[in-house]
Structures are given as structure tokens and as C-alpha cells.
């Protein structure tokens, strides 16, 4: 087993009833790698991402994260998830908790850190994502960009080995996208392993080590952004890129 492989997906299939969303996906993510998944809506990219931490249960195939086979019925999925961070399109901050409490709650309840330690870590992480003096703000008092940065801090608090970003900027007002992408970029530069479903081609081009283009439940094409985005081989990739880049 190669210890540098963080995520190893083999022949992954997922159906919702008659709807065959993922049709045999094979994907490996190395430690420190930033992989961007692009593709038209309905192509299965979010479902693929949600299978990596088992928010969706695959119909067939295996998902191995850090040597743990999540698709094995004996796998302790709660423990495995503490190593896999996730950032959602809709932020999903806990509205009844302050920013600091949002970052603390899983540290306390899952990792059993002391209140002082959790608060210290949370305070540091909020500063790291550029939120100072917002510790006691409730999510409703924060802008979308600030909420998403709290959500990133919340994921970081678990010291994950990989973070999944599910269209993390799609629900944001255009002027707030930059501040979130900036945080994601700095994480990438610090060597975080990231699996990013995104429509931000600029981010994919500038930050990704590898770009994966999906359509109709299969990986059509993958490679460095200089290849997939700038010089795509497949016709479907070209059609998709021309529709998103020329608007």
C-alpha cells in the first residue's frame, strides 16, 4: 500500500433508483495534491465528492481513504470522517452557535479536546482564514464569504488529511468569491490535500495540480490544467470549456 495515496477510488458506481449517476469512476489523490473536478451540472461531480466521505453510499466499487476502506461494512465511518474535512456549497454552519462555537463543537464532542484547547485552536484558525474579532458573531450576522471561511476553519479544526470542497463558492455573491478562493489557495500552498468540485476555471487553472473533467457519470479526461483546460483532447471537454469560458 502506497502511503502517499490519500484517496483511492476504484470502479465507483452510484445509482439513485433508475438514475445511474456514477458509472465506474477510478481516481487516486496523492498527499499534498490539489485535484479540481469540473464538468456540467448533473455530471456526478458532487455525488463523487459525497461518496468520498460516505454522505452518499456507493452502489458498487470501493473508496479507500488513508488505508481505511470506507465501503467496508466494518469500517468505523465516524472515525474515518474526522480525517476528511468537508466544505459545503450552502456553508451549513450551525446557526444556533457562534463562529467560535462552530469551530469548537466537533473538537470538543468528537476529539474530546478541553474547552480551553478547542477555543485556542478555533481562535487561531479563525484568524488564519482572515476573521478577527468575529469569534462571538452568529452565522446570521456574517456575510456569505465570512460564513464559508468559518466553515473552512471548522473543517481545519479536525486536522484533516484531506478536505473536500463541494462548490464552495457557488452560493456566494460575486464580490465575495475572491476572499474564499484566497483562503483555499493558501491552504493549497501549505500542502493541504484537496479535492475541489468547482466552476471557477481560474482557480482550477491557477491552483490545481490536476484537473478532472467529468460528464454523464464518467471521467472523460484528466491531467494538469495546462492540458485539460488549455489544450483539451476530448470533444466533450472542449464543448464544456467553450460554454463556460465564453460567456
Amino acid at each position: 500500500m502506497n502511503s502517499d495515496i490519500v484517496v483511492n477510488i476504484t470502479n465507483l458506481n452510484k445509482s439513485f433508483g433508475d438514475n445511474h449517476v456514477l458509472r465506474g469512476i477510478d481516481l487516486q489523490v496523492q498527499r499534498g495534491e490539489v485535484v479540481c473536478i469540473i464538468g456540467p451540472s448533473g455530471s456526478g461531480k458532487s455525488t463523487l465528492l459525497r461518496c468520498v466521505n460516505m454522505l452518499e453510499t456507493p452502489t458498487a466499487g470501493t473508496v479507500v481513504v488513508l488505508g481505511r476502506e470506507l465501503t467496508d461494512i466494518d469500517c468505523d465511518i465516524d472515525e474515518a470522517r474526522t480525517h476528511i474535512g468537508m466544505v459545503f456549497q450552502q456553508f451549513n454552519l450551525f446557526p444556533h452557535l457562534t463562529a467560535l462555537e462552530n469551530v469548537c463543537v466537533a473538537q470538543r464532542k468528537v476529539l474530546k479536546r478541553s474547552a480551553d484547547e478547542a477555543a485556542r485552536i478555533a481562535h487561531g484558525l479563525l484568524a488564519r482564514v482572515g476573521l478577527v474579532e468575529k469569534d462571538n458573531a452568529y452565522p446570521a450576522q456574517l456575510s456569505g464569504g465570512q460564513q464559508q471561511r468559518v466553515a473552512i476553519a471548522r473543517a481545519l479544526a479536525m486536522n484533516p488529511d484531506v478536505i473536500l470542497f463541494d462548490e464552495a463558492t457557488s452560493a456566494l455573491d460575486p464580490e465575495l468569491v475572491g476572499e474564499v478562493l484566497q483562503v483555499m489557495q493558501s491552504l493549497a500552498q501549505e500542502g493541504m490535500t484537496m479535492l475541489v468540485v468547482t466552476h471557477e476555471m481560474g482557480f482550477a487553472k491557477g491552483v490545481a495540480d490536476r484537473v478532472v473533467f467529468m460528464d454523464a457519470g464518467v471521467i472523460v479526461e484528466q491531467g494538469p490544467p495546462s492540458q485539460v483546460i488549455s489544450a483539451p483532447v476530448e470533444e466533450r471537454t472542449r464543448a464544456f470549456l467553450s460554454s463556460v469560458l465564453n460567456h
Binding site: R81, N92, P95, R154
Partner: protein, 263 residues
């Protein structure tokens, strides 16, 4: 002669006011107020009701209500979680329970559990308060289960996903993340449920309780028997109102506040 719609509506409104005033005047003039008061609100009988109506009967009504509410809330939460469970037998059990206890009138449930079963089996209720409060709680839990389930389902799905993706177990996520949010949604309907329970305790009086465990309704009825006057029941009704009106007003206030916040 064309009268516009708005003009017509205006005339109608004036007519309703005039008729109301006439009806009120007729009532005031026709009714024999002195006789009515001596039959239904005789002051010396009113005074006679106190302090027992509060210290004994009112206290008992509150005990029945609180026992019924606490039991109903605990079992209601349990049945709500069973209804939402992925385990089918749990769902079936909870759904059947809720159907049965919402479908049978409380009076019948009270008679079956309070009278029927003791007569049929020889088993005796260890405590007269439990005899009344347990059937009340069983029925209340069926209603509260549905209220709590609706509250839990009103919390966005992403909340559970976010909690689970942080490594929390299902029950941990329920306790720490989902139920605190659901509570804000269900406190007003649960307060209404409390008001309904206050009134429903009056049915417990059919169980023939002892003098010490009489509730307000029974106290009023016994008062009518001993005084041959309706006053005791009227006073009992006023004591019920003194308990229920503040609570319904509290619910109205909570709903107004919720409306203002969510806007």
C-alpha cells in the same frame, strides 16, 4: 342604480355594527341580571370556594398537567425519533402507537386504563395521581411525537450532513446540533399542547378520585351538588382561564417574535 362594490361593503359593515349594538341592548334589557347572578355568580359562594379551589383542586390540576406533559414529552421525543429511524420496525411501532392513541378519545383511554384494566386484572394503580396522569401522558405523547417530528424535519438536511462530516455519530449530531434547532420551532406548539393538557385533565374526574386528589372540574361539580348553585363551576372555569390565557398569550408573543426574526 349601480352601487359600487366598495360602497356596498361599506354599507354592510355599518349594518353589522348597528345590529351588534341592538343585540347587546336587547340582552342587557331582557335578561334578569339579579337572578342570573344569584344562580351563577353568588358572591358568598364565590368566596367559599377559596382557598381550597387553588390550594387543593388547582394544585391537583397542575400536578396532573405537569405529570402528563413530562411523560408525554419524554415518550413523544422517543416516538418522534423512532418515526425518523431508518429501522423499519421502529417506524412501524411508532406510527401504530401514534395512530391508536390519537384515534381513541381521551375519555375512553382514561376509562380503559383507569377502570377497565384494574377491574379485569385485579391490578390496582399504586397512586391516584398516576391513574389519571399515565393515560393522559400516553395520549399526549402521540400528539407531541408528531409535533417534535415535524420540528426535527424542519431543520435543513445540510445540518445533519455537516455534523456527520465532522465525525459526529447520528445520535451525537441529533443531541448537539439538530434537537437544539428543532426546539426553537416546536416550543410554541408544545406550549399549546400544555394548554390542551390543562383542559384535558378535567376528564380525569370521571375516575372517581378521592377528595384529596380532586381536580378543578370535579371540585366545581361537587360544589354545584352541595350548594345547588352553578357558581362553583363558573369559578372553576375562571381558574382554568387564569392558567390558560397567559400561556396562549405567550404563544402568540413567541409567534409574533418568530415572524419578526425570520423576516
Amino acid at each position: 342604480m349601480a352601487i359600487s362594490k366598495r360602497k356596498k361593503a361599506q354599507y354592510r359593515r355599518v349594518a353589522v355594527y348597528v345590529l351588534s349594538v341592538i343585540a347587546l341592548l336587547v340582552m342587557v334589557l331582557v335578561v334578569d341580571w339579579g337572578r342570573l347572578q344569584s344562580a351563577m355568580f353568588k358572591w358568598d359562594i364565590v368566596v367559599e370556594q377559596f382557598p381550597d379551589i387553588l390550594l387543593s383542586a388547582g394544585k391537583n390540576t397542575l400536578i396532573f398537567t405537569i405529570l402528563g406533559f413530562a411523560g408525554g414529552l419524554s415518550f413523544g421525543l422517543l416516538f418522534a425519533l423512532m418515526r425518523l429511524s431508518t429501522v423499519r420496525p421502529y417506524r412501524w411501532f411508532a406510527a401504530t402507537y401514534i395512530e391508536i392513541f390519537r384515534g381513541i378519545p381521551l375519555l375512553v383511554t382514561l376509562l380503559i386504563l383507569g377502570f377497565g384494566i384494574p377491574i379485569a386484572t385485579g391490578w390496582r394503580w399504586p397512586n391516584p395521581y398516576l391513574q389519571g396522569a399515565v393515560p393522559l401522558a400516553l395520549v399526549a405523547s402521540a400528539y407531541m411525537a408528531e409535533t417534535i417530528r415535524a420540528g426535527i424535519e424542519a431543520v435543513p438536511k445540510g445540518q445533519m450532513e455537516a455534523a456527520r462530516s465532522l465525525g459526529m455519530s447520528y445520535s451525537r449530531a441529533m443531541i448537539t446540533i439538530i434537537i437544539p434547532q428543532a426546539l426553537r420551532i416546536i416550543v410554541p406548539p408544545l406550549t399549546n399542547e400544555f394548554v390542551l393538557l390543562i383542559k384535558d385533565t378535567s376528564l380525569i374526574s370521571v375516575l372517581g378520585v378521592t377528595a384529596g386528589t380532586r381536580d378543578l372540574a370535579r371540585f366545581g361539580r361537587d360544589g354545584v351538588n352541595s350548594t345547588a348553585n352553578a357558581t362553583p363551576l363558573i369559578v372553576a372555569g375562571l381558574v382554568y382561564l387564569a392558567m390558560t390565557v397567559p400561556l396562549t398569550q405567550l404563544v402568540a408573543w413567541m409567534e409574533r417574535r418568530e415572524k419578526a426574526v425570520s423576516r
